[in-house]
């Protein structure tokens, strides 16, 4: 099973705690975080982001980034207003934040650009969630309203003007503020479940106009849990472990099959208001990441993106917006097919055998040429030999006659 970690934060300045879900070992504690409810997000497992509760005085909000292997805050951004809910899409491309004024801010992570900002609710946005294919954003607000936004429409100027309203669906089921919204798998039929302070929990699907209600099981929590109120829940990837954060500062891990507590973590004395369960990031542990030499992640992933911008760009600037595409992870393993000489050779052999191409003919010609050269040499050699022989014979003959004549009298 893949290692999973539990992250927890609280509204008091107690940082973000981090434990291994299955072994219970505690990892780094990220410092100086006073997160708002639903204000803690892991950006595609690359780094940790959290929107901060601020004093009432300050008009701007604050969003902090931590990289996994350092406890200190690395990047600080200051949006135009305090951000309550914060969420990132699963690829970590975008971060959406819901402001206290009811505006939703939509940033691009890689550049920090504020791509869009729109007025979503009459009161503060209390929770945000992407649907399973990351194309819809679902927001819950303190005005008791849950709205579904198509990000495509948000960015399509032409269609946006035609549309009567920006949202796709708007559910006014709750009389008090919405405290949580969740959705699951199921594509266009996924069920959106919202919990509210009016002590109801409602589910709906987008695909039917008359929303089908499945209501009211607020009580699982209270039935299961002792003492203090549970503020947040998360479940492990396999769906069997449920993690709950409670106002007493404890994080309890439950096995849903046996309904027993399997583990208890202690965050702080203050209430826990965010619990996340994520896959263990690769470079969570500083020791192990130091040991692995030049991993690509170390080179590219560890540099955190720039802070989120406060204001949107002018449309003119947007026309030249560049999108950064990251280095794809390609294995260094060389495939056999990347070697070409054997293929070339085979092709050339074929050519040679067919004797059709000019190149093959060239080889033949050259061979013939050299053969001719050799033959010429040979001829010359033979000639020379012949001449030598001839010479020899002649001299021999001459000598013979000479000697003969000389010796004649002797015979």
């Amino acid at each position: 099973m893949e290692a999973e970690v539990v992250l927890a934060s609280s509204p008091t300045d107690a940082g973000v705690s981090c434990w291994d879900l299955h072994t219970g070992a505690e990892h780094l504690r990220y410092k100086s975080c006073a997160s708002s409810p639903h204000g803690l997000a892991s950006v595609a497992g690359r780094f940790l982001a959290s929107s901060q509760l601020r004093d009432r005085k300050s008009s701007s909000g604050s969003i902090l980034y931590w990289s996994w292997n350092k406890p200190q805050v690395e990047v600080r951004s200051f949006p135009a207003e305090p951000i309550k809910a914060l969420v990132s899409n699963s690829q970590g491309t975008y971060i959406a934040g819901g402001g206290v004024s009811g505006d939703i801010y939509f940033w691009e992570v890689a550049t920090g650009k504020l791509l869009k900002k729109w007025h979503a609710h009459y009161r503060a946005v209390s929770c945000l969630v992407f649907n399973d294919d990351q194309s819809l954003l679902i927001s819950g607000s303190e005005d008791g309203c849950v709205r579904v936004w198509s990000l495509f429409l948000i960015f399509d100027d032409a269609r946006r003007e035609e549309a009567r309203h920006l949202f796709e669906y708007s559910f006014h089921e709750h009389s008090l503020r919405v405290t949580d919204v969740k959705t699951g798998y199921g594509g266009s039929n996924a069920i959106i479940v919202s919990a509210s302070e009016d002590r109801t929990c409602k589910g709906k699907t987008c695909s039917e106009d008359d929303i089908s209600l499945i209501s009211s099981q607020h009580s699982i929590k209270s039935a299961l849990y002792p003492s203090k109120a549970v503020t947040c829940l998360a479940s492990s990837a396999d769906g069997f472990l449920l993690v709950s954060g409670s106002e007493d500062g404890m994080i309890r891990v439950w096995d849903t099959r046996t309904r027993n507590i399997t583990r208890i973590f202690r965050h702080t004395k203050g209430p826990v208001n965010n619990v996340l369960v994520i896959r263990q990031p690769q470079n969570l542990n500083p020791r192990t990441s130091a040991n692995s030499p030049v991993s690509p992640l170390r080179r590219h992933g560890l540099t955190l993106p720039p802070p989120l911008e406060k204001f949107a760009n002018s449309p003119d600037e947007n026309a030249h917006a560049k999108v950064f595409i990251g280095p794809q992870t390609t294995s260094n393993h060389l495939l056999d097919s990347s070697y070409i000489s054997v293929q070339t050779m085979e092709a050339q052999i074929k050519e040679l055998q067919q004797q059709g191409s000019s190149a093959a003919a060239e080889v033949d010609i050259e061979r013939l040429k050299s053969e001719q050269l050799r033959s010429v040499q040979m001829i010359q050699q033979w000639k020379k030999m012949y001449e030598n022989l001839h010479q020899f014979c002649v001299t021999e003959l001459l000598d013979g006659t000479h000697t003969e004549s000389a010796n004649g009298p002797n015979l």
Binding site: D133, A158, T200, G203, D210, I214, K322, I325, T344, E362
Partner: protein
């Protein structure tokens, strides 16, 4: 060891290598007659890893030494061969050297690659005339660099060595002699100039152009920084744009060029220097302008392809993609339709228009490629730009008539839908559907009253596409079964007007749409699309699975496109059936029949897919909600979906809630003790065997009425006055009672709630219907009023019935107690208020 391991023995390898050397590798003295022997050598070396000098287990030193010396002599032989006077031997040496670069051990490679490099380099330089030798040397060099790039410590040395390669390589390029472009590690500007001038010269054939473009796209990689990539991209885009200015003069609005330019280059920013090598090529190409348009087409398309390569191939660092510029450029090309704008007629000779029009499809194809590459490269980051692309594609699909281009456009739509999800699907569904309808040509309102002349004409259309046999079949079918075949025939005929490949692409786009957003705001098109898909699938499969199929399969006629079309049609049909809608899929029975028949095509892809489809549809036929917890590991002691569970004694009250829900699948806990167990059993047995379309209505009736009526399902429904009405409303899932019923269900635990939703969607509303119906029965019995048709049975079985009713009402009370205790937050109405 040697004896035991046979052909895997390490000691064998040096021997093999030596014998290869002796027998097959040419040497100085003997003439080299048969080049195919070389390929035998290569395959032997590769199979047995003869050059690797590495054994999986430690072996004796002398074996390794023998091997080492064998490889030494191998290398020595190759080098002598490579410097031989005879070109064929030289060629053989070079080829084998390339193989050695690839196969030999790392130590050997690192220690001796410099020597080999010198040798190979000397072979590409001027005194060598044979092109064969040059090409082989380039290939071997390329392999050497490929291997070298695997060693990080030698890379630096390698790149310095590589600079020495550049000059000869460039020379080769200029000599137009070799298609092998060395691009691994290259000296930047020279190569750029050379490649660009090559592309511009227009003398190369298509495959060489492709390689050149690829080479150009790899160039920035040699530097590996962000700037060189974006500089190259900018240069190429600007050059394409300026070329388009010339080409499209008079074919588009004047403003378009400036508009694109603005998107490519922010105002006030210095334009990058033009592509180097352009100036030189302008001079040379002036001489060879036989057909300037042809040249333009090949240049621009090569550069566009180069852009795609740059976008899709990996790059070591993050690079900024000028998305807007790319989209604007693609849009500019896609929006040109070759018609002259009236104001600018004078600019354009008809001749030039003709030429340009012949090139436009090619340019548009590559523009679509660019869009595809953008969509692929950006993936989730595309979001802010998706609207622009969608708009472009919509307009283009409306006007485009070329099959290839349409296919490409559809495939982009498909990828967009899959990657951007529901959010995009709900907004572009209407456009896709209208485009697809045009391409699939469902005849609307012209089923009757067609003259015979039209029919023969469409038969001719059919003829042009499918086989002769097919036509005969259609005519036969037509003559044999006059009216029934009429409609289908017409559909089939009109089909053949667009090529199958386009229809496949259209169906795929539709499939993607149904997969992503089939149930969201689909009221306006869903029914039409479902109907279209079942018609298309029926028609597609009709030909293949009737008498005709045997002919096709026996005659060995592959008809791959038709089979593909069938498969695609079935895929889209499955998506249409599975995609959640407002009620039961109306064509389920027809679809199942198609899949069942398709599954009999054993051993084909189609049969395989049909099996998958039937599996996927099974949950639609038997809708059920499995319990959340695994029964075997949990403490729960009841068996779900098991007939025996009816007699289980329920130990505690809180168990009863899930069990009650479980019972709705066919066996309520309420009736087990009634006297009609057998009938009940029978009925359940019947249910299993009966058709798929046994609805939950029957199951419902099973609760409401005496089970003795079960043999007559139609009577059952009419047992009480209220029941039919209830059934109607619940099946339609939209009546005013629906909500109250759902409310009535409020006391149920959480998991059944989700199940209710599921059930409502699939049209199976058992659990929702259940309670109101029961309360009807209760009230009726309480009043003592009985309905006419059920009167007799009610009287005769009154005893048993009242016990059931008592049990039901008792259980309701206990339910309420339980839930009201444990669930204090309920605000919605209680079930008996109905």
């Amino acid at each position: 060891m040697a004896a035991s391991e046979g052909m895997y023995d390490v000691a064998l390898k040096p021997k093999l290598l030596r014998s290869l050397l002796r027998e097959y590798v040419p040497d100085e003295r003997h003439p080299f007659s048969n080049p195919s022997e070389l390929s035998y050598v290569v395959s032997t070396v590769k199979t047995h890893n003869l050059l690797s000098e590495w054994a999986s287990q430690p072996v004796e030193q002398n074996v390794m030494d023998a091997w080492k010396s064998a490889v030494d002599s191998w290398v020595h032989r190759l080098l002598t061969l490579a410097s031989s006077n005879l070109p064929d031997k030289r060629w053989a040496g070079i080829c084998l050297l390339g193989l050695t670069c690839q196969e030999c051990s790392s130590e050997r490679f690192l220690s001796s690659y410099a020597v080999w490099l010198d040798k190979l380099l000397s072979l590409v330089q001027p005194p060598v005339v044979s092109n064969f030798v040059k090409a082989a040397s380039c290939a071997s060099l390329s392999d050497m660099f490929t291997r070298l790039s695997g060693f990080s410590n030698a890379k630096k040395d390698g790149s310095s060595q590589a600079t020495r390669v550049i000059q000869p390589a460039l020379k080769l390029l200029n000599e137009d002699s070799s298609a092998v472009v060395l691009v691994g590690i290259a000296h930047y500007s020279y190569v750029e100039a050379a490649i660009v001038s090559k592309i511009m010269s227009g003398k190369c054939c298509a495959s060489v152009l492709k390689k050149l473009g690829y080479g150009l796209s790899l160039l920035p990689k040699s530097r590996g920084d962000e700037d060189s990539w974006s500089l190259m991209m900018d240069k190429i885009l600007l050059y394409i744009n300026s070329q388009l200015n010339d080409a499209f003069q008079g074919l588009e609005e004047e403003a378009r060029s400036a508009q694109t330019m603005r998107a490519l280059l922010p105002s006030g920013k210095e334009p990058p220097p033009p592509l180097s090598g352009l100036a030189a090529s302008e001079r040379t190409s002036d001489l060879s302008t036989r057909r300037p348009e042809r040249l333009l087409g090949s240049r621009i398309s090569t550069l566009m392809r180069c852009c795609c390569d740059m976008l899709t191939s990996s790059y070591p660092v993050m690079v900024p993609v000028p998305v807007c510029g790319l989209i604007a450029l693609a849009g500019r090309v896609l929006m040109v339709d070759g018609s002259l704008s009236s104001s600018s007629y004078s600019f354009m000779t008809t001749l030039k228009q003709e030429f340009i029009c012949s090139e436009i499809p090619l340019l548009q194809l590559y523009s679509l490629e660019i869009l595809t590459a953008v969509v692929k490269a950006l993936s989730s980051q595309l979001l802010p730009h998706a609207a622009g692309i969608v708009q472009l594609l919509n307009e283009y699909l409306r006007t485009c008539r070329f099959p290839d281009l349409k296919i490409k456009a559809y495939s982009i739509v498909k990828v967009l839908l899959m990657s951007m999800g529901i959010g995009i699907a709900i907004h572009i569904s209407q456009d896709i559907v209208s485009n697809v309808f045009i391409d699939l040509e469902l005849p609307v309102g012209e089923k009757d009253g067609k003259s015979s002349g039209v029919q023969t004409k469409s038969h001719a259309g059919l003829l042009s596409e499918s086989s002769q046999r097919k036509r005969k079949h259609s005519i036969m079918a037509r003559s044999s079964q006059e009216q029934p075949a009429h409609v289908h025939l017409e559909v089939e005929n009109t089909h053949s007007l667009t090529p199958i490949s386009v229809k496949i692409a259209a169906l795929e786009a539709l499939e993607a749409l149904l997969t992503m957003g089939g149930s969201l705001r689909s009221e306006s098109w869903r029914a039409n699309v479902d109907h279209l898909l079942i018609t298309v699938a029926t028609n597609a499969c009709k030909g293949g699975w009737s008498k005709e199929e045997r002919n096709i399969f026996l005659s060995g006629d592959p008809t791959p496109t038709w089979a593909d079309f069938q498969l695609t049609a079935l895929r889209a049909l499955l998506a249409s059936l599975l995609s959640p809608g407002r009620g039961r899929p109306s064509h389920l029975a027809l679809g199942l029949e198609l899949f069942r028949r398709g599954m009999q095509e054993t051993g084909t892809k189609l049969g395989e897919y049909c099996g998958h489809a039937l599996l996927a549809l099974e949950v639609l036929i038997h809708p059920r909600a499995l319990p959340l917890l695994d029964l075997h590991s949990s403490v729960n002691d009841f068996k779900f979906l098991s007939h025996k569970s009816r007699d289980t004694v329920y130990p505690s009250v809180d168990r009863q809630i899930p069990k009650y829900q479980a019972g709705t699948l066919g066996k309520g806990p309420a009736e087990p003790e009634s006297e009609d167990d057998d009938l009940n059993e029978n009925w359940l047995g019947n249910d299993d065997e009966s058709e798929i379309q046994v609805t939950e209505r029957q199951q419902n009736a099973h609760y409401t009425t005496d089970p003795s009526l079960d043999e007559l399902p139609s009577v059952k429904v009419a047992t009480t006055d209220n029941v039919p009405e209830k059934n109607e409303t619940t099946v339609s899932a939209s009546g005013p009672n629906d909500k109250s019923m759902a409310d009535a269900d409020d006391n149920m635990s959480e998991s059944p709630h989700f199940r209710n939703i599921t059930n409502q969607r699939t049209g199976a509303l058992e659990s929702v219907e259940l309670e109101p119906v029961k309360s009807d029965v209760i009230s009726e019995v309480g009043r003592g009023s009985t309905s006419t048709s059920a009167q007799h049975e009610l009287e005769t079985k009154n005893d048993g019935f009242t016990t059931i009713v008592e049990r039901i009402s008792a259980m309701f009370e206990s339910d309420n107690e339980v839930s009201n205790d444990s669930l204090p937050d309920i605000v919605d109405g209680d079930p008996d208020s109905d």
